[in-house]
């Protein structure tokens, strides 16, 4: 279930009356206004909306990269809007997998090393880390590209590596900000197919911002961001 009316108390992700105001040059920009959202485990939600409507802002709030001006966000019982600093970083390491449109990979690290990064924050041994990384790369179909550097990968492969990194530590949910925005049709199709499999075969919870109607179609629910609130667009 996904709700935008503030109901649904048992949801995995609960956003309550969130405001986000940016002040720029003495002028206040109300990007999000009294926004509510409930997402249950295993859901696949797509966010759409015109440029500048606040989609990235919302995703950053959900991932604990930014804090709302008003309101609260609770994930799996933890109120992340009450956390800060190191605690929030730790929470992010455990619960969130990010996939951005670009600048996902560290260019001087191999695909393997990039995917291993989140595991460096865990207590896993070197061998366990290797196993996890191999599993994740296998899942995204890049087991044979482990030792390649990002510049030796295609755009689609880079994005799939980013997905492997996002899931390697088995986070509670994935946040994708236009993951196919920079890709050609074919690569985009591959990436979307992968996300779809993560949801349906591995039970992942995914929240994805996209401009691409075809991408949105693969989601269970499409939400439009309009004038600072979310509106359900139906299936």
């Amino acid at each position: 279930m996904v709700r935008v009316d503030g109901g649904g108390d048992g949801a995995l992700i609960r956003v309550r009356e969130v405001d986000k105001v940016y002040v720029r040059g003495g002028e206040a920009i109300h990007v999000l206004q009294n926004l509510n959202l409930d997402v249950e485990r295993g859901e696949f939600v797509a966010f759409m909306g015109p440029s500048g409507s606040g989609k990235t802002t919302l995703l950053n709030l959900l991932g604990g990269l930014d804090v709302p001006t008003e309101g609260s966000i609770t994930v799996a019982g933890d109120e992340i809007t009450a956390m800060s600093g190191r605690i929030l970083a730790e929470w992010r390491a455990r619960h969130v997998g990010f996939i951005f449109q670009m600048f996902n990979l560290i260019p001087v690290l191999t695909a393997f090393q990039n995917v291993e990064l989140p595991l460096l924050l865990t207590r896993l041994s070197k061998r366990e880390r290797r196993e996890h990384v191999e599993t994740a790369l296998d899942l995204v179909g890049l087991a044979d590209r482990m030792d390649h550097y990002p510049r030796q990968l295609s755009g689609g492969q880079e994005q799939r590596t980013a997905i492997a990194r996002a899931i390697v530590a088995d986070p509670t949910f994935l946040l994708c900000d236009e993951p196919t925005g920079d890709l050609d049709r074919h690569s985009a199709g591959e990436v979307l197919g992968l996300v779809d499999r993560l949801v349906h075969e591995h039970g992942k919870t995914v929240l994805m911002v996209t401009h691409d109607p075809r991408a949105a179609e693969t989601a269970h629910v499409v939400l439009h961001l309009e004038k600072g609130v979310l509106v359900e667009a139906g299936r």
């Binding site: 990269l65 929470w91 951005f100 001087v108 090393q113």
Partner: protein, 379 residues
């Protein structure tokens, strides 16, 4: 340690830049090592100077002589146990650059006043018996291959002509720092052969009975010869050695200022490099943070990078300086004791690490404060 691959990867990102930074550290630390060795060489005299010895020289200047007759008169001053004297010969062995100090010494009293110099008794006896005999420090002997029985020709400079000596003894020092570069021969021989300054000696060295009263004795000596044609200036050997180093030039200050300039430049260069390299990585730092690397971890990573560069570059420099000093005095005699002691090596490394930290601190704070949302928006 888990993060080492990341640190390495960052250093390899721009190999030329990393090599230049490493090189700057290496050069600075090499210089540090050599300067430390030079300073030790200059201060060596002060370190080993006896507290129970007074150097009595002509008040006008060190190069003005004193009358031979002063020996008896100094001996009569209460608190003085023994008096010896020496004269600077300043000759040249083969080439000008072969420098070692030659002293015409008062043979009967010399060893009593300088017990730290050891000469085997039979060698000393042979020396005493030969008018043209000499004793050489083991350092100089090793350097020029002088052996007992060798004839050593020295070209006079103050007193011209060729002076030939026979080596009868090699002296050693009791301590590692003792000066083993000197060349001694009989004052009697010098005075007999030289055409001028007959009956004059370069300086006296008085051994006092009680080191605590050394300064009082020194004053008594100077008072004794006040208002005479040859006024004296007596001071403890330590003070004399320190004053001598000062005369050579304020080496300490010179070395400090050179060092300060070099290290300040190093700080600017590496600080700028670190800042550039971290700025370039803004997007990547944001990625690390989005993954869950805490602000403090990111701070630590940047500092660790600075420390890694400092350790490698500084280590190379210190090792290079050590290797250089192990090859011995590069000036051919001006710095008889030329070495880079372990304590100074440690100090050098600490200095390098300090600069590594200082150069990385601002970039590290920048990386720590960087907000993911701003960085991604900018990227």
């Amino acid at each position: 340690m888990k993060h080492l691959p990341l640190l390495w990867a960052n250093l390899k990102r721009r190999k030329a830049r990393t090599l230049l930074t490493l090189g700057s550290f290496a050069v600075a630390l090499f210089l540090f090592g050599v300067l430390a060795a030079i300073q030790i060489a200059f201060n060596q005299g002060i370190e080993v100077a006896g507290v129970d010895r007074l150097v009595v020289r002509n008040r006008t200047s060190l190069i003005q002589p004193l009358p031979f007759a002063y020996r008896q008169r100094i001996l009569q001053i209460p608190g003085v146990r023994e008096v010896t004297f020496a004269t600077w010969f300043g000759g040249v062995y083969q080439e000008e650059r072969n420098f070692f100090p030659q002293f015409a010494i008062d043979t009967p009293t010399w060893r009593e006043v300088y017990p730290e110099f050891v000469v085997p008794p039979e060698q000393w006896e042979a020396f005493v018996k030969d008018r043209e005999g000499c004793v050489v420090g083991e350092g100089t002997a090793r350097k020029y291959g002088f052996k007992v029985g060798d004839r050593v020709p020295i070209m006079g400079t103050v007193w011209s002509g060729l002076w030939e000596f026979t080596v009868h003894g090699i002296y050693t020092g009791k301590r590692q720092e003792d000066d083993v570069s000197q060349f001694w021969f009989h004052y009697s021989y010098l005075d007999e052969r030289r055409p001028f300054w007959k009956g004059l000696v370069g300086w006296y060295v008085a051994k006092v009975a009680d080191p605590d009263r050394a300064v009082l004795v020194a004053r008594a000596i100077d008072e004794r010869f006040a208002n005479s044609p040859y006024e004296t200036s007596a001071e403890t050997e330590k003070a004399f050695a320190a004053g001598f180093v000062k005369q050579v030039g304020d080496i300490q200050t010179l070395i400090l200022s050179i060092g300060a300039v070099v290290f300040f430049t190093l700080l600017l260069v590496t600080g700028n490099t670190m800042a550039m390299s971290v700025k370039e990585r803004t997007g990547e730092i944001a990625i690390l943070k989005s993954i869950g690397f805490s602000d403090v971890t990111v701070l630590g990573l940047v500092l660790a990078e600075g420390l890694l560069v400092a350790t490698i570059g500084g280590g190379l420099g210190v090792a290079g300086a050590k290797a250089f000093t192990l090859r011995g005095d590069p000036t051919g005699g001006m710095l008889p004791l030329f070495y880079f002691p372990p304590l100074d090596m440690v100090k050098g490394m600490l200095l390098a690490l300090g600069i590594g930290t200082a150069s990385a601190i601002w970039p590290a704070v920048y990386a720590m404060r960087l907000r993911v949302v701003d960085a991604l928006r900018r990227a």
